[in-house]
């Protein structure tokens, strides 16, 4: 590796004692700790790193940071395959495998490059115009081929085995960016006593300082500042953490990347999404160098000047021996000097006619050849740059210079993305030819290059001021805040920037503005001619500014080009909208740990483990896992539930009803409260009795139903449906806190406090007598709709004699943690009666046979009368919904109302959701109603159903057609009263 002609023997921030093996398309390569994938490839002589999006032109690295448009790779294999990762921000790690993108059969020999020959036909928007015919949907046919020819990397459809996490963090002051301004800001804020979080997307702190020579004053200043920061308490430094979005409430989304290859088995996360809330935020995000726009500016070997300096000073990679630096600003002169000092023959072409004394002295000291008033017009070369043509204002003919590295610097674009995320538009500053933050929200501060302050010392002082103000905003003011940090030694000056000249569209060679999307100056001209002159339209028409780099190096040049065509200044032209994320984020990171069993919480009954151990199959009911059916009854739900139903109808079964909503209602006004909530009266309900109740929404549709039992004058025990428990409790609390504040009532949601089990069947009473002897279970002592609290062996039990199945039944409630013991006790003691558990499927089927409504009928659209419960409503009191239920539309005779349905066809199947039609109706549209609940009835030997039908039981005895379009089925059924078993309710009263 050390023999690489591009790698310097000394210098840089790499650790030559730690070689790292990696591969490119299977080819073994070696780099060093401290390398990025980009620097390691360049050190190994790999300069062709991809093919362009549309024209498949050879491309090399253009930058050394997150703005990279060209050097995108597919990393990893199988489920870990990650496409479109910029090599410039990928830290090298042992075993890294990379593949270049968008070349067929390979990037080196890409046959798709023939598209470049057809380039004149492929201007912006060509495919939207060209591939529209001959038929209306022809585009859908062409699109797949176009997508295959163009594009970037491809994702895989395999599960991602890596782990991603989420964290919520807080800080008094958040500093985004650790360049000179960011370091100074963090130092000043911490000096004031604030808890500071300093985040840096790079693996090292320093920002632009990392591109300076190791023996420079800038590096000494960086080292001293880091040492000071690390000694300070309450400074939390996070590298490899990128702020990707700014949101309301001083909330910032960040992504932290793992170093190297994480091991998910050890809990190591590949990426962590952090939601950070800060008292104040300092944006010290720096600036991107802008490319110059001239013919062939995408040839490998043409790159940003700051990148060449970074590869040289940070990674000890010298990318050329004959170097031309083309620029319009002062900053590039330092890079030219560094490259020359490293041994390259350097010529600087500056578009300006004059430059300041400092630049000239720098060039002179470093033996850099200087050509002023020189504008590059064309880079020569195909796979590598070999020369550059340039022109001057004094001569009409072009000049040429041979080179193997062409650096370009068209000024600087402050990174205003984050400050713009909340909608604040950037402001154009003509003096630096750049956009800066338009303003700052309260508690937000900017410092350094992102504000347009490019000089080092000025940026540091600005950072200090921002740090002090941010700390003050967060509540930290002290005399220590007046101290100033030392400045780097040496002369410092403002970075002067001249206007960048864009190549005209007619110039020879493609002059790229957006490298990632292959958008040239000609495309901008076409967009202008076509009328897409707004920057937002320009973006959509040309795809400029899209993709993984989101136009970080292209947007400003494009705005300048369009502003030129329109004769406007850049401020008037404006920018496109900045949106999160600032840099690409893995889908896995956004999902975090919300995958697999952690996708959402699951609620389990107190009896869950018993069900698991005893062959239950489960079904989701909202968040609950409920026992669906049991293995004793059959191998499938369809077989098992029928056997379980037969058990309940013929002997005795036991069912886990712990999931029912349970609400404790206490207080002197509890009775009055329930009278207002329920349509029927509860004030006169005697102690020791329970009653079925229905409550309405404000709009008079049914909210929920359930049984409420009275255990004392001031104490009721309400049950709700499983699904509606939380909503009902919230509704009741809302009413108590807003509408009826005078009522002395407290409610507590106690669903989790009680295990509930229903013993149902003709032998239910015998089962209780066997299991809980010593108590009187007779009809006289505990009649239907009776309730009682008893004490068994020192443990309170609550018994309600209510029935959902239509059989003699008792609901038993016990403290949740004792539920399993009671359940097992009942099964053991009543075993001689053949008692067995039954599941949700049987429970639902039993209630359909009985004609009880449930969640499928209580869908917040049906009224009391729709469900045949209108007579329940008390006329001598008011209740929620009582006024609005009188609305004519809710009283209309043609409303869809509850009916029972019996299948008339032998072998026919009724299905939930089937649409109901009268015989002779055209089977189309919404029909006259639909089936809400359906089951096979062992009692009747046929399918039965509940449904809603226009006019309801007025049509009792009539036939209907049940249409199920998904299966093309039409089945005849008859409308009957919705009580198929024991309609007089004799069984449950025995």
């Amino acid at each position: 590796m050390s023999r690489s002609p591009r790698r310097l023997a000394t210098g840089g921030r790499i650790d030559r004692a730690r070689p790292i093996n990696f591969s490119l398309e299977g080819r073994a390569l070696q780099g060093f700790a401290g390398d990025t994938l980009a620097s390691a490839l360049l050190a190994n002589g790999v300069t062709l790193v991809g093919r362009s999006f549309k024209y498949h032109r050879p491309r090399g690295f253009m930058s050394a940071g997150v703005e990279e448009p060209n050097g995108l790779f597919t990393l990893g294999a199988a489920g870990r395959t990650t496409p479109n990762v910029a090599g410039t921000v990928t830290d090298l790690y042992e075993g890294l495998s990379a593949v270049r993108q968008n070349g067929w059969p390979s990037v080196d020999w890409d046959l798709m490059a023939v598209t470049s020959w057809a380039a004149p036909l492929l201007a912006a928007g060509f495919y939207y115009k060209t591939f529209m015919g001959p038929r209306r949907n022809s585009w859908m046919f062409y699109e797949r081929f176009i997508r295959r020819a163009a594009g970037l990397g491809r994702a895989v459809h395999l599960p991602d085995p890596d782990r991603y996490e989420t964290q919520h963090l807080f800080a008094d002051v958040l500093v985004v960016g650790s360049g000179p301004a960011g370091l100074a800001a963090a130092w000043a804020a911490a000096q004031a006593g604030a808890h500071v979080m300093l985040v840096e997307q790079d693996r090292e702190l320093g920002g632009s300082l990392l591109s300076a020579r190791l023996d420079s004053p800038e590096e000494r200043w960086r080292a001293e500042m880091l040492s000071a920061l690390r000694r300070m308490p309450h400074v939390d430094i996070r590298c490899r953490m990128t702020a990707i979005g700014l949101y309301d409430g001083n909330t910032v989304a960040l992504v932290e990347r793992h170093q190297g290859r994480p091991d998910p088995a050890r809990g190591e996360a590949r990426e962590i999404v952090v939601t950070l809330e800060a008292g104040a935020i300092i944006f010290a995000t720096g600036a991107f160098e802008r490319p110059l726009v001239f013919g062939g500016n995408d040839v490998p070997g043409v790159m940003l000047t700051s990148a060449a300096r970074s590869y040289l000073n940070r990674h000890a990679v010298v990318l050329g021996r004959r170097v031309v630096v083309a620029t319009n600003n002062d900053a590039a002169w330092q890079s030219a000097a560094d490259l020359s000092t490293a041994g390259a023959i350097v010529t600087i072409l500056d578009q300006r006619q004059t430059v300041n004394r400092r630049c000239l002295e720098l060039a002179n000291d470093a033996s850099v050849t200087v050509k002023l008033d020189a504008t590059p017009t064309r880079a020569i070369g195909s796979r590598a740059v070999t020369a550059v043509r340039f022109s001057t204002s004094r001569a009409s003919r072009e000049h040429s210079l041979d080179c193997d590295l062409l650096c370009m610097s068209g000024g600087w674009a402050p990174v205003v993305h984050l400050t713009s995320h909340t909608g604040i538009k950037p402001r154009y500053r003509a003096d630096i030819d750049a956009y800066v933050p338009g303003e700052y929200a309260a508690g937000h501060f900017g410092a350094g290059a992102m504000t347009g302050t490019f000089a080092l010392s000025a940026g540091i002082r600005e950072g200090e001021r921002a740090g002090r103000r941010a700390a003050e905003h967060a509540g930290y003011v002290s005399e220590a805040t007046r101290a100033q940090c030392a400045l780097p030694a040496g002369e410092d000056a403002a970075c002067e920037v001249g206007p960048a000249r864009l190549a005209p569209p007619a110039a020879r060679g493609k002059a790229f503005i957006d490298f990632q999307n292959d958008v040239t100056t000609r495309d901008i001209a076409v967009a202008y001619q076509e009328g897409f002159t707004s920057v937002e339209h320009l973006k959509r028409y040309t795809t400029l500014g899209m993709g993984t780099d989101q136009g970080k190096t292209s947007n400003v040049n494009a705005i300048h080009a369009m502003a030129g065509y329109r004769g406007l200044d850049p401020q008037t032209t404006g920018t496109t909208t900045f949106r999160p994320p600032y840099t690409p984020v893995s889908i896995g990171a956004l999902a975090g740990r919300h995958v697999g069993q952690h996708f959402r919480a699951i609620r389990r009954s107190p009896l869950h483990q018993w069900h698991v151990a005893n062959g239950a199959m489960f079904i989701e009911a909202g968040l609950w896992q409920r026992a669906w059916y049991y293995g004793w009854a059959g191998d499938s739900a369809s077989a098992a539930y029928i056997n379980e139903m037969k058990l309940v109808r013929g002997a005795v079964g036991i069912c886990d009803v712990s999931t029912l909503g349970k609400i404790d209602v206490q207080g002197p006004d509890a009775a009055e409260f329930l009278d207002r909530v329920y349509v029927n009266s509860f004030a006169r309900l005697p102690v020791g009795k329970a009653r079925y109740g229905v409550m309405l929404n404000d709009n008079a549709t049914v909210l929920d139903d359930g049984t409420t039992a009275r255990f004392a004058d001031t104490h009721y025990f309400m049950t709700t449906t499983t699904a509606q428990a939380a909503e009902v409790a919230s509704r009741l609390e809302f009413l108590l806190q807003t509408a009826w504040v005078d009522l002395k009532v407290s409610i507590t949601l106690v669903t989790d406090e009680w295990a509930g089990m229903s013993i149902a069947g003709p032998k239910a009473r015998e089962a209780l007598q066997l299991a809980l002897p010593g108590h009187d279970w007779s009809n006289e002592r505990l009649p239907y709709m009776g309730c009682v609290d008893i004490d068994v062996d020192g443990v309170p039990l609550r018994i309600l004699r209510v029935s959902f199945s239509g059989e003699l039944a008792f609901e038993l409630y016990i403290a949740a943690d004792r539920g399993c013991a009671l359940w097992e006790h009942l099964l053991t003691r009543a075993a001689t009666l053949g008692i067995r558990p039954y599941g949700l499927e049987a429970l639902a089927a039993l209630r359909i046979e009985k004609g009880h409504v449930a969640g499928l009928e209580l869908d917040h659209r049906t009224t009391l009368d729709d469900l045949g419960l209108g007579k329940m409503a008390a006329s001598n009191k008011t209740f929620v919904g009582c006024a609005l239920r009188e609305r004519p539309e809710l009283r209309a005779p043609g409303r869809w109302s509850l009916v029972g349905l019996e299948c008339l066809e032998s072998g026919g199947t009724l299905r939930g959701g089937a649409i109901l039609f009268a015989p002779g109706d055209e089977v189309a549209g919404h029909g006259r109603g639909y089936i809400t609940s359906v089951t096979w009835s062992p009692q009747l030997g046929k399918y039965i159903a509940l449904g809603l039908y226009q006019g309801g039981l007025v049509h009792e005895g009539e036939d209907v057609v049940c249409a199920y379009p998904l299966k093309q089925e039409h089945v005849r059924a008859r409308i009957v009263a919705p009580a198929f078993v024991d309609p007089r309710g004799e069984r449950l009263r025995v």
Binding site: L169, E268, P668, A815, C820, A821
Partner: protein, 205 residues
């Protein structure tokens, strides 16, 4: 009562028995303890300032002390009293007789006492406890902001929890029994890179 045929069973029995695991650095930075056999009761005064004062007068001798601030708790050897809202308290104790005494002492005309048998108390502690909790709780748990004795009604893994700081590196979580297994699974998954031990504190005896 514990000798009853209807013995109490933990919702986490199978999970706690699995034990702990080393973290990525080979250490165990978190201890998760399930407290069994505790009794939790909710005391609520009906909405009236006088009722609240009266409830406190009655409860104070039985509990020894009451938190003065909403969102705080007082802990003694046998009782933890949490003040959830102005006139709403939770009493967590190993002594069932205290709950029974409260129920007897507080008149039904004044407020209610509801036994909460479906709450599970988990204690998470260790030097990395804030790192663990920040993965699921969006609260600033820095000791300057969330002091010892402070509580919050918040959310963890889509479930309502009451979080109480009982020490610099120690928090109690009161969670709903039906969510307990899910939350436990979430906790040990979140603790995986840190490493964790599990323990049981049994107050049943």
């Amino acid at each position: 009562m514990n000798a009853s045929v209807f013995e109490r069973r933990s919702a986490l029995a199978e999970r706690v028995d699995v034990g702990g695991r080393d973290g990525a650095n080979g250490r165990r930075g978190i201890l998760i303890t399930e407290t069994r056999g505790s009794h939790v009761a909710e005391l609520t005064a009906f909405r009236d300032a006088l009722y609240g004062d009266r409830l406190r007068e009655i409860a104070l001798p039985l509990l020894g002390a009451l938190p003065t601030e909403v969102g705080s708790a007082l802990e003694s050897a046998r009782i933890t009293v949490l003040r959830l809202s102005v006139d709403q308290y939770w009493v967590a104790t190993r002594d069932a007789s205290i709950v029974a005494e409260l129920a007897r002492a507080i008149p039904v005309s004044l407020g209610s006492v509801t036994l909460l048998t479906g709450r599970i108390r988990l204690t998470v502690e260790g030097p990395e406890v804030r790192l663990l909790l920040c993965k699921g709780i969006a609260l600033d748990l820095h000791p300057r902001r969330f002091k010892v004795g402070r509580l919050a009604q918040t959310e963890l893994h889509h479930s309502a929890v009451v979080l109480l700081r009982t020490g610099e590196s120690c928090f109690d979580l009161y969670i709903l029994r039906s969510f307990a297994a899910s939350i436990w699974d979430w906790l040990i998954d979140a603790a995986l890179p840190i490493g964790y031990d599990v323990a049981i504190l049994d107050w049943s005896g």
